[in-house]
Symmetry: C2
Subunit: 294 residues, 2 copies
């Protein structure tokens, strides 16, 4: 196992670097990222380090998962700082490829995951999960990792990948790690860097509304609308404090954690999930509601 | 390496059977088939045996590559005879799974290969290559074979799979083996079993028309239409001998072997390819035209 962080920039180099580890029967863990690393990513690296013999982190801002008019061009790219963080937390190998090493000219193959990719984010970001599924399968194949780590923050993404892995018999185990939050509850996200001070303050409403949902369910509320309505009101009130249109909801939903279908009554473990624009920044968050817990 | 043919019926059993081979660093070769094995398939097994340490043959009539109204239900199933042939030619391991072990309930993920899958067969069998790409990727993942063997008879299929392998970084090498023909030139195919004696005689026109193309190009013809027209006439004449509509052309084409785009002039290696109905049986065949060879 390499004792210092090794950086490779092509799939061929990655394969070469991993070959001796594979031959030695080492368990390879993969943490796919788009860089601009924060504590959420680092928690995935720590999980990989704890559970595998070698930890591979990929840093690639995948163009195919951004829609037209989305933030591909301005997405934060902080490779130097990312490498320093990865070295500090003991990652073994980083793949940071150029776009044409990943998508050669003439690339035409895409993975379509179906129903679970079509709800929620899929409705608001058509084609997004096609891009996600395709790049993640490519990274699985490049690394031939045995375990891959994803954050619960992108819950639907993790579900889409699990569906793909099962449907296509991909020989990898997908592990989902808990959301890491700032002190005030805001879920860590590379896109938080877009937020100015006023927007940053307003952004706490995502987590606050999820806490409200937990509180209502904790008090015995089982009707989904009776939970969603106060959440929406709270988010609307956060918007009312700023300029018109400063806070805009794409969706706030209570869904079945496996199918992502909306639930009417909260029976059994339910996912509260939302996507909200704070100014020009689109943020997502989620948490589980556990009606059967005391 | 097992010294007698081992039959497994689930992906889990296959993984278990292959685990010791993989740990020992054996090179695994895969021959995916739909059964009803003939000399064409056996030639693939022989190639795998010659080039790999262990040869896995899969027998699965993949429903997702058959269109509505196609011959899924009547496709020949001859497992006992297939196993005898595979034992005789020294295959090591056969996976013959049930359909619901391959496609679990709730399967929704599909691989779409794009342009190269949309021409020729793709036009006449919409969705066919989506089914082919998906099952083949599943079999690659189940077996984690290092090399996989396909016949040139299904040339476009092999091309679609190569495109998928490159685009998705699948860690497998695809090898294409020559077409095996009957004494009179008819390409071996499981579907030849559908042909009655009269149709069987008429079916030789596929290869005869390809030979005609080779002959014309050998004599210096470089104009595609001047090759295609006599081919079509020959095929039409074969039909005229039987009942009306007894021979029907889906396509006869001269195409670039990489893109499958039609060529106007035969410059460099060109693929002559055709799909023809003989009664209710649809047959395909192809050959290369090499204008630069003496």
């Amino acid at each position: 196992m390499p004792s210092v962080l090794q950086l490779v920039t092509t799939a061929a180099q990655l394969r070469e670097a991993l070959e001796p580890l594979r031959r030695a029967g080492r368990k390879i863990g993969l943490v796919p990222t788009m860089g601009a690393l924060h504590e959420g990513h680092i928690s995935l690296v720590r999980a990989a380090k704890a559970q595998c013999d070698a930890t591979v982190v990929t840093i690639f801002v995948n163009p195919s998962q951004f829609g037209q008019g989305e933030d591909l061009a301005k997405y934060p790219r902080t490779l130097e700082a990312d490498l320093a963080k990865l070295a500090a937390c003991g990652a073994d190998l980083v793949l940071a490829p150029a776009s044409d090493d990943v998508y050669r000219p003439g690339h035409t193959t895409w993975v379509e995951v179906g129903a679970v990719a079509e709800r929620l984010e899929g409705k608001f970001r058509p084609g997004h999960f096609r891009g996600v599924a395709t790049i993640v399968l490519k990274l699985f194949n490049m690394s031939r990792a045995e375990v891959a780590f994803f954050g619960q923050k992108d819950y639907q993404q993790a579900l889409v990948i699990q569906q793909m892995v099962e449907d296509l018999n991909v020989p990898v185990e997908v592990r989902i790690c808990p959301i890491v939050r700032e002190a005030d509850g805001l879920a860590m996200s590379s896109r938080n860097a877009y937020l100015g001070p006023a927007a940053r303050a307003r952004a706490t409403v995502l987590w606050k509304s999820l806490e409200l949902a937990q509180e209502l369910v904790g008090r015995g509320e089982r009707n989904a609308l009776a939970v969603l309505e106060p959440m929406r009101q709270m988010i609307g009130a956060a918007g009312a404090q700023g300029a018109a249109g400063e806070v805009r909801v794409d969706y706030v939903a209570l869904v079945d954690p496996q199918t992502l279908e909306p639930v009417c009554e909260i029976r059994g473990r339910t996912l509260a999930v939302l996507a909200v624009w704070i100014g020009k920044t689109r943020l997502i968050d989620n948490c589980f509601l556990n009606p059967d817990e005391p």
